[in-house]
Amino acid sequence: MRLRTTLACSALALGLALQAQAADVPEGVTLAKDQTYTFWLLDAIKSMDPQINTDVEGSDVLRNLFEGLYNEDGNGELVPGVALDHEVSEDGKTYTFNLRDDARWSNGEPVTAGDFVYAWRRLADPATASEYAWYMELMQVANAPEIIAGEKSPEELGVRAVDDHTLEVTITTPLPYFPQMLVHGSTFPVLQSVVEEHGDDWTDAGTLVGNGAYTLVAHQLGERVVMEKNDTYWDADNVVMEKITALTINDVNQALTRYLAGELDRVDIPAGQYPRLKKEYPDEAVSTPYNCSYIYMLNVGEKGPEALKDVRVRKALAYAIDRDIIVERILQGGQKPSYNWTHWAIADFERPELDWADKMDQAQRVEKAKELMAEAGYSPDNPVNLTLQYNTSEDHKKIAIAASQMLKQIGANITLDNYEWKIHTDRMQNQDFDMARYAWCGDYNEASTYLDLMTSYSGHNNGEFYNDAYDQVMKDSKTAADPQPLYQEAERILAAEMPIIPIYHYANVDMISADIEGLPENNVNNTWYGKDLYRIAE
């Protein structure tokens, strides 16, 4: 979904006015007396401060305690949050958001444009030292890089409150997907008076003041988070779910057992168990696409092995891996084999036709791989020696073992290197690897969240794939009326150069209580809001 003109926006505002309610309970549905929802967290929540949080799990909690300019619905489409709608200037660089006047903080104060200004400056301010400060840069907000570098004061950030209910944002380059980025937790407003009064303790239960549909009642680190309905929320009348609890359970199998014992309404299904659970609990086991992509990154940079500088070898490695086996025999959770970088379910994105993906079957790919290896001077008798590095996890290990076996037949002798997460990451960022397991989860529902990563200037391009044509395509996409053909071109370049070996596209594989309604079904970011949930009577 793209919002570019005022016309489109007013149409959006109109459409939204009709469905501007929280839980969308169809007529005739009987609600259960018990409106509580309990979900699973793998780890302790690291921070409840929107500008400090860096985790997906933290965001799941934050979305209930705070509300940004826009929310997403079950299909990943934008719906109004604090902002009702917005206008964009002719040059696409100035956004003016019209904020609703009935939004309230949980202490009763009105939510104003100034609260957003404060929060955004706070995110960029070096004194906050936020690990997500770069998100302001990613959003292209004017002066963000200079403020982060300490060269300008936070007051110079390109965001200003025209009045209490009008927020104006200036960005440096037009970004077609700018509104989508506003769903991210780090852009949520915070209340200056509370943050300044309590310092680091402002996020404690009882102290935290938010503008979301829920308030924080209890937070026992690594044990549970309890949230209850916030009566000052502007749409509180339409919020059905009274209480939301998050339980931290560090072991995924243990979480499943407790789900089956009725302690939770939603848990992840451990790899390999989906087929069995789907058979036993057809109404509860679900698999939906999830905005992450699993690859083996190849080090094509200076510190990388000589063999990987040869595109024939890179292609051969990619061709020889049988993704169907990995997805169907190891993961077994509805993940999709991938032959490109961008997740297949990303909005508006359609993978271009690629010869190796669409015109060959696996046997042909292996044949082609052997040919390419032979041309490059390698064969099973004279194999190329490479290491494949992965971070500690049973699944990564299984996939790596399978991949190394598949690569053996074409003359690649793979040594598996297992490292603990931090060391794995550190080695990748210092280019100390040949092939490395990598996954990227999109920040928003648009292809550039993947494709930007492979540009020479991205900062995450650990394999040092530097390609001028690719950079140009991605730069052009920022101002193109329709960036999609350019995104396809970028994918074609990746297929031709093969700096990464795509393995699979993620899926959310969950057990969800059959009586819980309102969780997103077609939202690749799995952005869910407690306010949309309700429990039906059985």
Partner: protein
């Protein structure tokens, strides 16, 4: 030397021991690759610099150690967590440690009481059915590590029987499974040590004398045999305590108690230097303290020991 000055001397040695512990852990930790802010999304250099400045990680190591120790000595402040940024190390320990202490002490008590009882019973009824059952139970318990025990307990008591909550920390009913899981293997070890030690004591001269002068068997056991038989058990308790703290990681992971064990392991994996140091010092201090208690108990049990 009397007991009091012995304790003073031991405490005096504890201080340099702890300092050494701090310095070694600090250096080891900083020599591990990666840092608290290493993440999949590599931070722009300026953001990283801002973070390092905020947490003092841009100072030379000696200065970081110095500041750290000074913070502890002057204000008992263990610093902010680098990962749980809303919380200080003091807050994290204040929340997690009482939980660990609760189930740790309960497990300790259960392990000692049940273990000693089982061991004594087995020794007294040597080579009877009771002995075989006791030995069988303790060997069985020994070979069931807590990470196997924990999921089985949840399966049986939560999923099948529905008697107990599968995890969390909200009240006494949440304590039962963690205590069983943590105490079982220690209980088994204590039972075996007690049994063999008791068997040995029961054949010694002073017991034969006690029996010869016509004391009832109950008194012979309780008054004359139990105390000397406890000596090897006591020496086992020191290391057992440390092992329990390490074992608490498993309890925290499987029962989601929110205890300090999980925080300890996470801090190492996350390179959360401050939390890791805080817990290391805490565990170090407790280990020193427990060893002192064990040594004092020695003297009480065996009058031959002099300080």
């Amino acid at each position: 030397m009397d007991l009091f000055s012995y304790i003073l001397k031991r405490l005096a040695i504890a201080i340099p021991t702890l300092l050494l512990l701090i310095v070694i852990s600090f250096l080891l930790m900083h020599s591990a690759p990666g840092g608290p802010f290493t993440s999949e999304r590599e931070l722009p250099p300026q953001v990283l610099a801002n973070l390092n400045a905020k947490y003092g990680l841009d100072d030379p190591l000696w200065k970081q150690i110095g500041n750290y120790v000074w913070g502890i000595v002057s204000e008992f402040d263990f610093g902010p967590s680098f990962v749980y940024k809303d919380r200080s190390v003091n807050e994290i320990i204040a929340q997690g440690f009482p939980i660990t202490l609760t189930y740790g002490l309960l497990s300790f008590a259960v392990a000692v009481i049940v273990g000693v009882g089982l061991g004594v019973a087995a020794a007294v009824r040597h080579n009877t059915l009771l002995d075989y059952v006791a030995v069988g139970v303790s060997i069985g318990a020994q070979v069931l590590p807590n990470f196997v025990m924990a999921p089985i307990l949840v399966l049986v008591f939560t999923l099948w029987l529905g008697w107990l909550p599968g995890g969390g920390w909200q009240g006494p009913e949440y304590w039962i499974m963690p205590v069983i899981a943590l105490s079982t293997s220690f209980m088994a070890s204590i039972a075996r040590i007690t049994r063999s030690s008791m068997l040995e004591v029961l054949t010694s001269n002073h017991i034969r004398t006690a029996r010869a002068k016509g004391l009832p068997e109950r008194l012979v056991i309780l008054r004359h045999a139990l105390k000397p038989a406890m000596l090897p058990v006591i020496s086992y308790l020191g290391p057992a305590f440390v092992a329990m703290i390490t074992g608490s990681v498993v309890v925290d992971i499987y029962f989601s108690t929110g205890g300090i064990g999980k925080a300890f392991v996470d801090s190492a994996l996350n390179r959360d230097y401050a939390v890791m140091m805080g817990v290391t010092i805490l565990v170090g201090a407790l280990t020193i303290f427990f060893n002192l208690v064990v040594d004092i108990l020695y003297g009480w049990i065996d009058p031959k020991i002099r300080y």
